[in-house]
């Protein structure tokens, strides 16, 4: 069988334009631009860099291991359990996350499709993933930093704002796209079965790729401003996970609601705008009196943004209790969202 990876290696092109100055960080996302250079090697039928993607190496290896362990044909030829009972369900039902894992290839393809389609017929391609937070940062730096002289915890304001804008952009786009994801996939939902959770999940995961592109620019900006990351940077994955959980949690709630109530479509832009002001992006949370901060951190994005600043820039604000509160809030959102989603799921195909 031809090796899919070989074909892809030849197609590396144009990443510089996509990732800007982040040359040291080389995700091979060339095909996202929709412009594969050259013919590619013709021996590969598979158009997608399945296990070449730095962000998704795990499923492939996992499957290999699994296959070695279990020679039973059932595990790898059938996606669902051998005997299945279909019956009416009521009220709250189990999440059945195992099924989502079983459908991980589909999840992967949906993420890939989202990315591919999003930057199709665009001139700048994936550069948009970097430009959005970057341009917002410039506007903020001009109006809040220069003109309004908003304090920034002793960090240069552009860096201060961008550090918050990178996770925020991930959150806001993930939320917006996820809330429309089910309605947008109505043609799939009414025609084929798969765990519906994969749809919003894929959308938010696709946002993670954009995030990974915008993130190296942050390091560039730190280097430019002469800020070295502290040892606390090891905590960064925790804050990324927190942002992901928040985006997915809210996305699950809104996407499920959107199926039945199309009002959600009108609420979402408004919601993200309000949420942005409720999050310390243009201003530091140290502006708030100490006693209110814990309450403030019920907004999980507060924890995310403060966490990012603390881990990367070493700002003075000790986010400890805020992180705990934010983490709890995000977890509640996510778990509640997942169960709510599963509860609403049974009528999706009838209503959407």
């Amino acid at each position: 069988m031809p090796n899919a990876a070989v074909g892809f290696r030849d197609r590396r092109a144009g990443i510089e334009s996509a990732a800007g100055n982040a040359a040291d960080f080389q995700p091979r996302w060339t095909d996202l631009n929709g412009a594969w250079s050259g013919s590619g090697s013709s021996d590969s039928r598979f158009p997608i860099p399945y296990f070449r993607i730095p962000y998704f190496p795990i499923p492939y290896f996992r499957r290999r291991v699994q296959r070695l362990r279990s020679p039973s044909p059932v595990t790898h030829t059938s996606i669902r359990p051998h005997t299945l009972r279909i019956e009416p369900t009521r009220g709250w039902v189990a999440l059945r996350l195992g099924e989502v894992v079983a459908y991980r290839e589909l999840l992967y393809f949906l993420v890939w499709r989202d990315l591919k389609v999003r930057y199709k017929q665009t001139i700048l391609g994936v550069a948009w993933a970097v430009l959005q937070p970057l341009l917002t940062m410039l506007v903020f730096a001009l109006f809040f930093g220069r003109l309004a002289r908003v304090p920034s915890d002793g960090v240069p304001y552009p860096l201060f704002a961008y550090t918050a804008l990178v996770p925020w952009t991930f959150f806001a786009t993930g939320l917006t796209l996820a809330s429309n994801s089910l309605v947008g996939s109505a043609n799939l939902i009414t025609k084929v079965y798969f765990p519906r959770l994969t749809i919003p999940l894929a959308t938010v995961l696709a946002g993670l790729v954009d995030f990974a592109l915008a993130f190296p620019v942050l390091f560039g900006l730190m280097w430019w401003n002469g800020v070295a990351p502290t040892a606390q940077v090891v905590w960064l994955p925790v804050f990324i996970a927190l942002a992901f959980a928040t985006a997915l949690g809210v996305g699950l709630w809104l996407s499920a609601l959107n199926v039945e109530f199309r009002d959600v479509r009108h609420v979402v832009p408004f919601l993200t705008q309000l949420w942005m002001f409720a999050t310390p992006i243009a201003y530091p949370s140290s502006l708030l009196p100490e006693k209110w901060r814990t309450l403030y951190a019920l907004n999980p994005m507060v924890g995310v943004v403060e966490g990012f600043r603390w881990a990367l820039l070493g700002t003075a604000t000790r986010p400890g209790p805020m992180i705990v509160v934010s983490g709890a809030a995000a977890l509640a959102l996510l778990i509640g969202g997942a169960f709510f989603f599963r509860r609403m799921e049974r009528t999706f195909a009838d209503v959407v």
Partner: protein
Amino acid sequence: MSSDVAFPGEASLAPTPHEAPRVIRVSHLGKQYQLGARARYRTLREALVDSAKGIARSIGRGRTRRSVERFWALDDVSFDVAQGDVVGIVGRNGSGKSTLLKILSRIVEPTRGTVDLEGRVGSLLEVGTGFHPDLTGRENVFLSGAILGMRRTEIEKKFDEIVEFAEVERFIDTQVKHYSSGMYMRLAFSVAAHLEPDVLVVDEVLAVGDAAFQKKCLGKMGTVARHGRTVLFVSHNMGAVVSLCSRALLLQSGRLVLESDPITVAARYQATLTAAPTSTTDLAGAEHYGSGKARFVSLRFVPERRDGSTREMMCPGSRLRVETRIVCSAPIDSANVGITVYDASGYRLVDANTAMQGRFVSMKPGDEARVDFALDDVRLKPGTYLVGLWMGRSNVEDIDGILYAATLEVEPDPHQLQHSEQFPGSYLCAFKHSVVISTPAGDVAPPGVRDEPGQRSAAGVSR
């Protein structure tokens, strides 16, 4: 199990090997829908108002009971499917076929009852599920395959086969939005056709592409069926059902009314179709041309058997009585009355008129006349035909004419279905013929082989 209970007499007809394990067990399945706008999207405001009303009602003891009309799209359906069965599901539009398939493929939840499924179920409810116009053919094969439940390695293995079957090799790296609709359909079907689940649920996807591709699709379905896979197959094409399926179910307004062999079910299904052939068409509102001295007022088709008894549907080779009624408003003298049969695209096929028989119609104002044509051995292929009426004197005047007065449905004969392959063309024909064979040994004519001149051959009839 349930099949035996429901139709004890017919169960023995079903060729199901009863030793084969049951892979689908449907028991008392029901799906209820709400009618009207309520069932569609609600806005938040409506939901709030409704719940407020609900609270008010619970306090005020059911003052304003909102009457939501509900209906059972599927009602108490039970049947079993054994491994390797190819089951046709037949019924008119709205009889619950699609609902049943949607429940079996887990897209919607039943309101009542249970289904037990063994093995992996693949459903093809639509051609091109998951196709994205902006992606290339190659990319769509992978995406659609994944959505239909195929593994990536599985798709890679079958990729060449899929592309070859679809006949789109040259365009595989072109975005599918630039495809012709035929190419798109072929590729989409091809992906679906290479799905290899234990149980395949198919909804009328065969109606894609040109005649040649349709034939290929049917062939593919046949191969799938012969390979011992379990298939549930919804179709309106009785020919396909009879030739592919080992058993068939007939649904009528959500209920399972017959479970038997495909021929019996196809015959019953056709009998439930519109009783249109024997109904009378009122021609008052039709578009008439001609002088209008007399008018056709109604037209009625009565299909008959060879022995002259009325039958409920028109089949190739039956007799057809066409009854017309004419009302006269000004004197007409020795007019010719005729009918013309056109195919569905308006192409003229056959004429019959009174002048051919040397008969003419004369009427005085106020007279009412009936002109009946008895057409013997009507060799029209199954399909829809248009019938036009005309009355006048050739090359002198048109008294009354209606280009397309009524449609005539010709159904396939259920007893010939198992052999019927749909040949293109417009009608079946029979020729009077005789045969002369010249060989060095001379003309050898064993008794009974050569037709007497003037006698219809029986050989050409079925095709």
